[in-house]
Subunit: 360 residues, 4 copies
């Protein structure tokens, strides 16, 4: 058995950082050694620096790690660095890390739009990671960044990938989201009064993110593998309406879509396509890859966040109520675990794929 | 000042019946005298028969009314009868009342599809009540029934009416609803475990109701005023996705729509049209008619059920986030109070319109 | 009819300030003319300075009032000033107002412990306001401050007052509170994740406040009317356990108490005493005084916050489940509206009493 | 390695029965072979008979078990039968099982008060199971029943046991509970409208159960091991106030207690006693026994149900905020998982203890 790769976490005291730590406890491929946080926390033991807010207990191995500042020097032995930094800070810090030759998997939005940066949902478009290999062949230094998608984008694109592979392009797509509060972190996060007996029909920037990230994730790697060509607005129209609801974890999305090709497939064909999809990460033998990528539920009233969000430890996506749509072709309900496949968990699985592809 | 009309309530101990009683307390036009319920309750004082579950106290005037069985004999002095009966019982009872010459405004779904029965959202299509006058001219006996729409339909069609009047027909319409639990009554209603940290993405029969009721409410009275011609599926495509959420009162709907005519109006034109709409009920001077039929909210994060559901005492509808839609023409968020304009309140306002039109 | 007294509000953009404004809209005794807030808001129209978060709409009269800084100069024409200031700022500002001769009713905790400052729950101990008159006879200048109690104290002491008057002193008292989130304001207030599928069994400083405020409110005015003598820990033992729960408005308290005198009264005597209590504010004809000070509910499962918090517009207190206690003498459940009788509403009613007693 | 004991579950389609099935999946000691339910379900495969409502998926092994009627014949090969029957049915069914010589561990309340039936919280009073051995020595047939305590009693008595062992008897005890909705099952369970923005300060029969069950669980086995002598009301006074709150799993209890002996121990002594307590089930090596019986949390705002209910897989109990009480000696907050240590999990652990003691 090989030695485990050394891992670090940036933004280790925040909501996403805490999830990275949980997911890295007893991980067969990675050994978490370095935790980075603000200068306020640096120098303290992690247990003294963090306000731990997870339902799982703080893993013992992390308690006594002394927190570092977010500078590449402290992370230089790391084979992989997971960034849970807030967007307000992520830009220059992640840049400095890449320039220092480090491999960064980031949950921050700062570099998602950069054409030379892969934006990856690991159960959907791991082939975009091939950009990294290509670049290495160019002789460039080995630092790079991979961006995790926005949480609500991850759930949306999961069922689209197999459908597009099988039935050809989607030309119109709508999603109305009912998003969990954990997506907003917890300092302070969503105020209680906003989600008690209430809905907030707005999440700043979220609709825009869903609409364009979808075009990049469903887009194609250029033949020289140097950039991603996002789908144009001629190729696909995407419309999102986002709501914050009183759910702790798990984003529910009511989606509709229309295929470009006629005749459209049948409902049964759509369901079969989703059921039989096996993501590449699973074929690659990645530790966290879901055995069943997409769970197609047949009960009328499913998926439900409280009951279904933890399928395949949150790495699987659930789809229910697949039916014809009077306006577009099909409508269905998609549920994904926003802090697993929609955030930290996606980062871990991306790293596992990078390892399987020998990119780290 | 005229004497008030005599009113009765069927299904008086149920959720809708209780709301009728609250709305009829101190009503300037109606005096509630007869309460009908199951034989289990009949003969008891109302206060002893009911499990009162409203946030407003049980009005004193109703406490000592002795509950009747749901037979027309007991209601024969009533000028108007409001029915909050469950659909399991409403069919034959309401039929017997109409045959006995009584005027019934019903919240039950049983007769909504009947072509000779108006299906009315009082701030939207009170002109459909003109069927009743027509029928009287035929010499038929004066008993009749008017159906209140489904709660989520009411909110949806409210903004459509002025838009269609001004900009012409809508050819495609989608709504994803986030519906309050009060719509399901309370015996037992929605289980707590279903809405705690959860969403149920299904409400039995609801999507179908929204899709066809919309075509009838936006439909046209035939020239002989004897029936309603619903819009065909060629004329309008409607698609609904319904969710139950942890909200006590107030249905939120994320809607999108496309007009038939090109070019489509601008966002500003749409908003102006909604803002300036004055419903006929208000012009007729009806007591419960909203001063502002549609509140167009400009803040990004509104409407919200807890903050906005009580505008115009729940008879007004709130619309926010009017913006262009990449797939259809426009998207927006609509909030309506499901137990007021979506149920019992609609019944009261329909009766006020009937009175103003001298149909009772 | 007399002219209305001129009123001002300090901390006008905050949660408590907004409630003061709502309660002063169309008030028969007071005309709100001056709004004070931080220098960041000063100079703006109120509608531009505030993030309005109430379920009732922002009253039109307040929209265009230009916000002042919190200095007495701007308030000098005020007969009464209501302070909703945060405790971090209230100390020096309120002091400056009193020194400038102004009458201040404050929701802040800063001066509650001062012996020369009355701490008043208006339905409980308005006689403590007689300190003010006394002081005027001394020739001191007319500025003074009256403190509103902590919200959970208000509900607790409401039933105690009539019981003590009738059955003599209480020697032991316990309360376990289930407190609404509105009590914590909204910037940011309680995080949603803390109250979704959760209880927080701690509210900083709250238990201590309940334990000592009770001794002052149930304490006695010295014979020279110059100070309040709180009950000693020999005279009454008070123990509080405080929890934050997922309720928007309305504090529920499960209390137990033991009287000093033997034999203790019967359950029926206790209930009769509570039912027949009429607070002095009502006898004085105060506009906001509850017609029924204490509602004794007989149903097993009441009071409930959603159903009972608005009795007497939130100025009345509900008591249910009065029964014998195996450890002390009696246990019962008390519900009070924390932002009405427990905060801003109490302030308004105190001012009405001051006016009725000709102290302003 | 020995063969696993054969287990059956009565009431297998209900809330408690489903939890038994989950806990028996892959259990090292027990092999679940027989599922009993109503005649309506009998003869069907379990997967077709059940409406599965757990967050964990239905274990595959149980899907195809054909459901039996609740008669001992079908269970005769069982070494242990777990009963999740509703109290309306449990009485005669469990009696018939015992008479047929079966060993029954029941969650129903029907036989809890019987002096010859042990009422056991497995982390508290497993010594009461010694009654069973005693009875066998009498030559009676080997059927017997062990009752699981009420869920809120289990949490309450957990910290009391070590305290009484160390510091002597408790003479007064109060608890105010904030109970999760899962305790009420789900057909229909607690209505959503009762726990949305609300508290219900009443749970039928619950306070009485807590008050007397505590006296039996803390009571003593007679010297002939034939009956349990409950503590008298002279020996201990117990007072409970019960509330239903919007929490899915996990009962929070704010308790106070006074010891008989003077001087009372210090806060530190109380905490040390709780921290160092190791339950007998753990010493016996039982599979489900908590490694840490009582978690003493030092953070001010803990335990919280969402964060702490799953400690030791729900078999451990959390205690926080241990402090002096002005009325009794100490107050503290206790959190226990109501469907694990408070119901089905307790049943499993009791069976493990029975096995370890060779009573099955």
């Amino acid at each position: 058995m090989c030695a485990r790769k050394i891992a670090g976490v940036l933004g280790a005291t925040g909501a996403v950082g805490q999830r990275f730590i949980l997911l890295l406890a007893d991980h067969p491929d990675f050994e978490l050694k370095v935790l980075g946080a603000s200068s306020r926390s640096a120098g303290k033991k992690y247990i003294d620096a963090v306000v731990w807010k997870q339902t799982d207990l703080l893993p013992e191995f992390a308690e006594n790690i002394v927190v570092s500042e977010c500078k590449s020097d402290a992370f230089k032995e790391c084979d992989i660095v997971f960034s849970g930094l807030d967007a307000d800070y992520a830009g220059p810090i992640e840049k400095e890390f890449v320039e220092a030759g480090l491999a960064v998997v980031s949950n921050a939005k700062n570099y998602r739009r950069a054409q030379e940066v892969p934006l990856v949902v690991p159960i959907v478009n791991p082939e975009h990671l091939d950009m990294i290999e290509a670049r290495k062949a160019d002789g460039k230094k080995s630092g790079f960044i991979v961006c995790i998608s926005n949480c609500s984008t991850a759930g949306l694109v999961a069922p689209l990938k197999p459908l597009v592979e099988k039935f050809g392009p989607i030309d119109a797509l709508t999603t109305t989201t009912l998003q969990a509060i954990s997506g907003a972190g917890f300092s302070p996060g969503i105020p209680g009064i906003d989600v008690l007996d209430n809905i907030v029909p707005y999440i700043g920037g979220e609709e825009d993110k869903i609409e364009w990230e979808t075009t990049k994730i469903l887009g194609h790697l250029s033949s020289d593998k140097k950039e991603i060509r996002a789908l144009s607005s001629e190729e696909i129209k995407v419309s999102a309406q986002c709501n914050r609801v009183a759910v702790s974890d798990g984003h529910t999305e009511c989606i509709s879509l229309r295929f470009k090709n006629r005749p459209a497939p049948s409902v049964e064909q759509v369901k079969d396509c989703l059921k039989t999809y096996v993501c590449d990460a699973y074929k690659l033998g990645c530790h966290s890859a879901p055995k069943q990528t997409i769970h197609v539920l047949e009960q009328n009233d499913r998926p439900q966040p409280r009951l279904d969000r933890n399928r395949d430890a949150g790495f699987g996506v659930s789809v229910g109520r697949v039916r014809e749509d009077p306006v577009l072709d099909f409508k269905m309900v998609v549920l994904s675990h926003n802090t697993v496949i929609g955030a930290a968990g996606a980062g871990i699985l991306i790293a596992e794929i990078l390892l399987a592809k020998k990119l780290i």
